[in-house]
């Protein structure tokens, strides 16, 4: 089990694309340190030969017919858009 003091809130928040203030960083560092120290007890469990369970009910290859059907119109898809024009979402500039 990794040392829980490895948690660097500022670094992880950048990975998550989430700005945190200095106050938040200090508070989360302490609170999540507690949670991770608690979670470290998972290291006690013998998990040799145990398959990881992504779901409680194993299900594989759930198929349905690939048929066109009525769904959103462009207007409906755009109704919640913070910014839109010409039936398109406006995004923040990504290329110079």
């Amino acid at each position: 089990m990794a040392e829980t003091t490895d948690l660097d809130v500022a670094y992880v928040a950048r990975l998550a694309r989430l700005q945190v203030s200095d106050d938040e960083r200090r508070t989360f560092q302490a609170q999540l340190g507690d949670v991770l120290r608690y979670a470290a007890k998972l290291a006690e469990v013998n998990v040799q030969d145990v398959e990881a369970a992504a779901h409680a009910v194993p299900m594989f290859n759930v198929f349905r017919e690939d048929r066109p059907r009525d769904w959103f119109t462009a207007d409906e898809a755009l109704q919640n858009a913070p910014r839109s024009a010409n039936d398109l979402f406006i995004v923040t500039k990504v290329v110079e």
Binding site: M1, A2, D6, L7, V9, V12, A13, R14, L15, A16, R17, L18, Q19, V20, E24, T27, F28, Q31, L32, D34, V35, L36, Y38, A39, K41, L42, A43, V45, V47, V50, E51, A52, A53, A54, H55, A56, V57, M59, V62, R64, F72, E76, A77, Q79, N80, A81, P82, R83, F89, V91, T92, K93, V94
Partner: protein
């Protein structure tokens, strides 16, 4: 029966009045509106209410349908077309759901009227409804205390007679724990029993929607409407839906109920323990065979849950980027700043904490130690239940180790808040069904009466038997008839 008495009725009591023409659906909505305007200033259970739309639907109600003309409150995380769906988050404060969730479509097809959006912890992350960005909901039994969470608004509304029944979601106890704190019935269906399509995702391998009601019979009636496979949710189970009322009233003689010894820990409030012990004795008197057994990996459930649920949440909440919907920041220099500031402004502290924890346990170097290991321990927890259900039909425990706690008491210490879910989390990890129902009261230091919840758990898709035993217990007591002093 006067109009003022209508909101105290259960769904199954209201049905014959509507069908027999003693009251009209419009009168029911009017009576509920009066009750809500009296109660809402005291408990703050709702985020939004549209009585005009509900009256419009009431006038067109088809009373031949199973839930014809019955208004049902909806947790603010479940999409109802044309209504706001904010998840009690600033990030979605203006979001209007463009479509009905499958369970809403089914509820409407059964004749029910979605009425009101109930308060919750932001994105269902919490156990007290204090993480709502909108307001704090108060417990109808003691207004200095929380209603539980995350479906706290749904539970408080039903307990206060401000809803006939409500829908909630349960990822680690979010239906059962508030039901226990507010003295009502809350059912978490088996994973896959109710479609998640149109329910905003928190932790996709754990989330289930289900009913919060005044009685077990009402829970069965709502389950009849909302359960079933859905081509739009590939994790919904393609098993037939039984009539969940069919076993209600049957005797429970010979039914085997297991008492997991790991659930009789020192941390249980003595008054909660006394109420649950009395419930076990009562079930024994009704003919149930009680035996002690072991769920050896119980002590790891909370740790497994807070690794897996936060990992899934960090991925699910990546979609809130302020491009297609939701809050968007202004005046940024580049796309990274757009994302970082949009999300910082949109999310509250608990959501940020969980995104950071979830991102950490999935990040390079920690994935194997936390996420992968937690998935393996989850499998061991699931196997504990498979073994237990070879020996017994049901399991029994308190729903929560403590009754409703004081507002503000646990907000500074997330780990203590997380440990409040110790008895409810395992059912989500194992994918089984579980119900909370009233089994007594604890007296607070100030003399208020605080409801105690009894949890019964059954194997996957065994909801009918779960409801049978819960109903037998309920009908042999009068706990479900107690109402808060409002």
């Amino acid at each position: 029966m006067t109009a003022a008495e209508l909101p105290a009725l259960t769904i199954s009591e209201l049905q014959p009045l509507l069908r027999g023409g003693a009251v009209s659906p419009g009168e029911v909505v009017d009576a509920l509106q009066s009750r809500i305007s009296e109660i809402e200033p005291q408990i703050d259970a709702y985020i939004a209410l549209d009585f005009e739309a509900a009256k419009h639907e009431a006038n067109a109600a088809d009373l031949s349908l199973p839930l014809g003309g019955i208004p049902i409150a909806v947790k603010d995380i479940i999409s109802v077309a044309g209504q706001r769906c904010t998840c009690a988050s600033r990030s979605l404060s203006n979001y209007i759901a463009p479509y009905d969730a499958t369970l809403i479509r089914k509820l409407k097809a059964a004749g029910a009227i979605p009425l009101g959006r109930t308060n919750m912890d932001e994105f269902a992350m919490g156990s007290s409804t204090e993480n709502s960005s909108v307001k704090i909901t108060l417990n109808p039994w003691d207004k200095s205390r929380v209603p539980g969470g995350s479906s706290g608004g749904s539970a408080a509304a039903v307990a206060a007679g401000a809803a006939f029944g409500a829908l909630g979601t349960d990822t680690g106890g979010s239906i059962r724990q508030p039901a226990a704190f507010c003295g009502i019935v809350g059912l978490k269906p088996s994973y896959g029993r109710v479609s998640r399509f149109g329910v905003v995702a928190f932790a996709s391998s754990l989330d289930q929607a289900g009913p919060l009601t005044k009685t077990t019979r009402d829970a069965a009636l709502l389950m009849n409407a909302i359960a079933g496979v859905d081509p739009q949710d590939s994790t919904s189970l393609p098993e037939p839906v039984p009539d969940y009322t069919q076993l209600l009233g049957r005797e429970i003689r010979g039914i085997r109920i297991g008492l997991p010894k790991e659930y009789t820990t020192d941390g249980i409030d003595p008054q909660v323990k006394a109420a649950v012990d009395a419930a076990v004795t009562q079930l024994q008197a009704l003919g149930a065979e009680i035996s002690e057994l072991s769920l050896p990996h119980t002590e790891y459930a909370v740790a497994v849950y807070y690794v897996l649920a936060t990992a899934e949440a960090s991925a699910n909440l990546a979609r809130f980027d302020g491009v297609r919907y939701g809050h968007r920041t202004e005046g940024v220099a580049n796309l990274v700043e757009h994302y970082e500031r949009t999300r910082a402004e949109g999310f509250g502290a608990e959501v940020k904490r969980r995104i950071i924890l979830g991102t950490y346990v999935l990040s390079s170097g920690y994935y194997d130690a936390f996420y992968l290991r937690a998935q393996k321990v989850r499998e061991l927890i699931r196997r504990d239940f498979v073994e237990a259900f070879k020996k017994v039909d049901l399991l029994i425990s308190p729903t929560s180790p403590v009754p409703a706690f004081k507002i503000g008491e646990r907000t500074a210490d997330p780990l203590q808040m997380y440990l409040a879910d110790i008895f409810t989390i395992a059912a989500n990890l194992a994918g089984i069904c579980a119900i909370s129902l009233p089994c007594g009261f604890a007296t607070s230091e100030s003399g208020t009466q605080l409801p105690v919840g009894l949890q019964l758990l059954a194997s996957s898709l065994d909801e009918a038997r779960l409801l049978q035993v819960a109903h037998a217990f309920e009908q042999s007591t009068d706990w479900h008839q107690r109402r808060p002093p409002l």
